[in-house]
């Protein structure tokens, strides 16, 4: 399989009145063709910022540094706005969390999907584009697509709007689709349908997907690899099954233990003590040390490096030895 996205030591910081906030620090990962990478972590851990950097959508006060930020051989770091336009929407598609607020309420569904084609596929004429819009709506499972063309976003339900968003994101057959919490705002029945749709599209279109979510049960079901982030750093990554069944980083274990287990009802839930560190004033050593149950003195001295050990990357000096949380 070919390497699609290659990120090496990506750091993103913001200049604020109180100083420089390091939102993302030395994040490295790779995405191969056709693969699904799940990114999990609490709010503010840098999941979305990393994706915005890949899409070139960061605000102007962001300072981005990286050894490599490479998409299919193109270095993304120093692209100008025009070259970004060619990648965004055409080669990398993105779906946002809240479909209602991501669609423009003033334009019809047809207009909004057509706009993508107008920009990226100038060779198509009006009729061809209309045909393409119709087939896209069919692909994402919208019933009676002909009648839906002239609908405005407020006439659609949440699930339908998310399908329209997906249609827009896949309009140009991107090689990589970034889905940032695509089902968080949806009902559980609709969530199931959208996940099914994403997996189906991924297979038929041979796309790679970066799937961001805080819901580990969703991530477990649809991803191949998983990457856990904490305070802007990747702290553990590996194959989804291995990481979820045998978490080694205390934070990953804590996250998994704090989900109510369907089969163990009357036990108290584990909750991670403390709060995330202040990004303006980070501690010296391991960022998680203050909240960790496995901490010892050396944890707070220096930041542990991320190390590869049997198919697993881990940033921890004292990993947990798990007996395996199997169901």
């Amino acid at each position: 399989m070919e390497k699609l996205l290659d990120v090496k030591n990506l750091s993103i910081s913001f200049e604020t009145k109180k100083g420089i906030a390091h939102a993302v620090r030395n994040v490295s990962f790779e995405v191969y063709e056709g693969e699904t990478l799940g990114v999990v972590g609490e709010s503010g851990c840098g999941k979305s910022i990393t994706n915005l950097a890949i899409m070139g959508l960061l605000p102007e006060n962001a300072i981005v540094k990286a050894d490599r930020l490479n998409f299919k051989g193109t270095e993304l770091l120093n692209l100008n706005e025009k070259s970004w336009q060619e990648i965004r929407g055409e080669k990398i598609g993105m779906i946002f969390q809240d479909p209602m607020s991501s669609l423009n309420p003033c334009y019809t569904v047809e207009y909004q999907i057509d706009e993508v084609l107008k920009i990226h596929k100038p060779e198509l004429n009006k009729e061809q584009r209309k045909e393409k819009v119709l087939s896209l709506l069919k692909d994402v499972g919208i019933p009676a697509p002909n009648e839906r063309l002239k609908s405005y976003p407020h006439e659609l339900s949440g699930g339908m709007s998310q399908r329209v968003m997906i249609a827009m994101a896949i309009a140009c057959d991107p090689k990589l689709l970034i889905a940032d919490e695509p089902t968080t705002a949806l009902d559980v029945t609709v969530q199931g349908q959208i996940l099914d749709l994403l997996s189906k599209l991924q297979k038929t279109k041979a796309m790679a997907v970066i799937f961001v979510s805080h819901d580990l049960s969703v991530v477990r079901d649809i991803t191949d690899k998983i990457q856990v982030m904490y305070a802007g750093e990747v702290i553990e990554s590996g194959s989804t099954e291995e990481v979820i069944n045998e978490p080694r980083h205390p934070y990953t274990k804590g996250l998994l233990d704090s989900i109510p287990n369907f089969h163990k009802k009357n036990t108290e839930l584990y909750s991670i003590p403390g709060i995330v560190p202040d990004l303006l004033n980070r501690p010296n050593g391991c960022q998680f040390a203050k909240r960790c149950f496995n901490r010892s003195d050396d944890c707070e001295e220096a930041l542990p490096n991320i190390e590869q050990r049997d198919n697993r990357s881990l940033r921890c000096l004292h990993p947990v030895v798990t007996e395996g949380i199997k169901e």
Binding site: E42, S43, G141, P143, S157, G158, G159, M160, D187, V188, T189, V190, Q191, G192, Q193, H214, D215, L216, S217, V218, D221, G254, L255, D257, S258, I259, P260, N261, F262, H263, K265, E268, L269, Y270, S271, I272, I275, E327
Partner: protein, 313 residues
């Protein structure tokens, strides 16, 4: 002992601009019974009437028909003040439901000021007690809501709901806006408070694993009606109604082969509550519907130790 009994509760909304007197039946003939120190979970998709039910119980929305009993007392015969000393509510979004211009102690003791004559000093003292009870440091008494984190704000909301010593708390999606690790803290806190203060909860959520964790009994709603109502072990362990099975299947939490292999919904969209289907409301989406389902509405009956409205045997 029952602390809250609801009998044939109906809340209808008139349709604006419609002259035929059409109504949306947001809560349609709902009956249940909440016992002391117990938790009733209410689940269903958005638009099924969960939040309308909560508002009706609180008296924020007036009921169209039916009875609500707070212990022995009929809700028609009690004043708003009495009602709020009996039942209180915690809202979904902790930031939206706290007044940004008030300090923590003012937020917590507002209900006290309104309902009882209490001096400022007593209020501050009471607020400090409550903050400690919900796991907040009393240094925060004079802070504003934006100075707290999401989880801490939800603790403030809980403290405010507890200040009048109510018997019943309505929790409307109390953890949906929170991260999983914070969610666990709040769930533990709620369980703990229930033990200490003998509280009864109505826990509204769309997250089935959370409801399964916290609720003793569960009520599954669909378009304002009850699908299935009974002990949580049965509802989640051996669901009967096809809608309950669908919910469990979509949530990916059950290990049972029957749930995993349960057929998909026929129609992905919830029918319009303005114009609900004939017969059983669920028949347009039900993968196991029969002919009679579209003609007759099933009654809520006792089947396999729970109440179900379905023709299946």
């Amino acid at each position: 002992m029952s602390v809250l009994t609801v009998e044939h509760l109906k809340t209808y909304y008139p349709v604006i601009g419609n002259r035929d007197g059409d109504v949306v039946k947001a809560v349609n003939n709902l009956s249940f019974d909440l016992k002391e120190n117990q938790t009733l979970g209410i689940v269903g998709e958005s638009g099924c009437g969960k939040s309308t039910l909560a508002k009706t119980l609180m008296g924020l929305e007036s009921k169209t028909d039916g009875k609500i009993f707070f212990g022995e007392k009929d809700s028609d015969n009690i004043s708003a003040k009495e009602r709020y000393q009996y039942i209180q509510m915690v809202f979904q979004d902790p930031l939206d439901s706290l007044n940004p211009r008030k300090k923590a102690w003012e937020i917590i003791t507002d209900p006290l000021m309104i309902n009882k004559k209490v001096s400022k000093n007593e209020c501050i003292k009471k607020a400090a007690e409550l903050m400690e009870l919900v796991g907040l440091r009393s240094e925060g008494l004079h802070k504003y809501p934006h100075m707290f984190s999401g989880g801490q704000r939800q603790r403030l909301g809980i403290a405010r709901a507890l200040v009048l010593n109510p018997k019943v708390l309505i929790l409307d999606e109390p953890v949906s806006a929170l991260d999983v690790s914070i969610q666990a803290q709040i769930l533990n806190l709620l369980k703990d408070l229930q033990r200490k203060m003998k509280l009864s909860y109505i826990f509204i959520s769309h997250d089935l694993s959370v409801v399964n964790y916290i609720a003793d009994e569960t009520l599954v709603m669909y378009l304002g009606r009850v699908c299935e109502y009974g002990p949580s072990e049965l509802i989640f362990g051996k669901p009967f109604h096809p809608y309950t099975k669908t919910l469990l299947k979509s949530a990916h939490i059950s290990n049972s082969e029957e749930i995993k292999n349960f057929p998909k919904l026929l129609d992905t969209e919830l029918p319009s509550p303005l114009n609900p289907p004939s017969g059983c409301f669920f028949h347009t989406r039900c993968p196991v519907a029969k002919e009679e389902c579209s003609n007759f509405a099933p009654m809520l009956e006792e089947k396999k130790e729970r109440q179900v409205s379905c023709f299946l045997e």
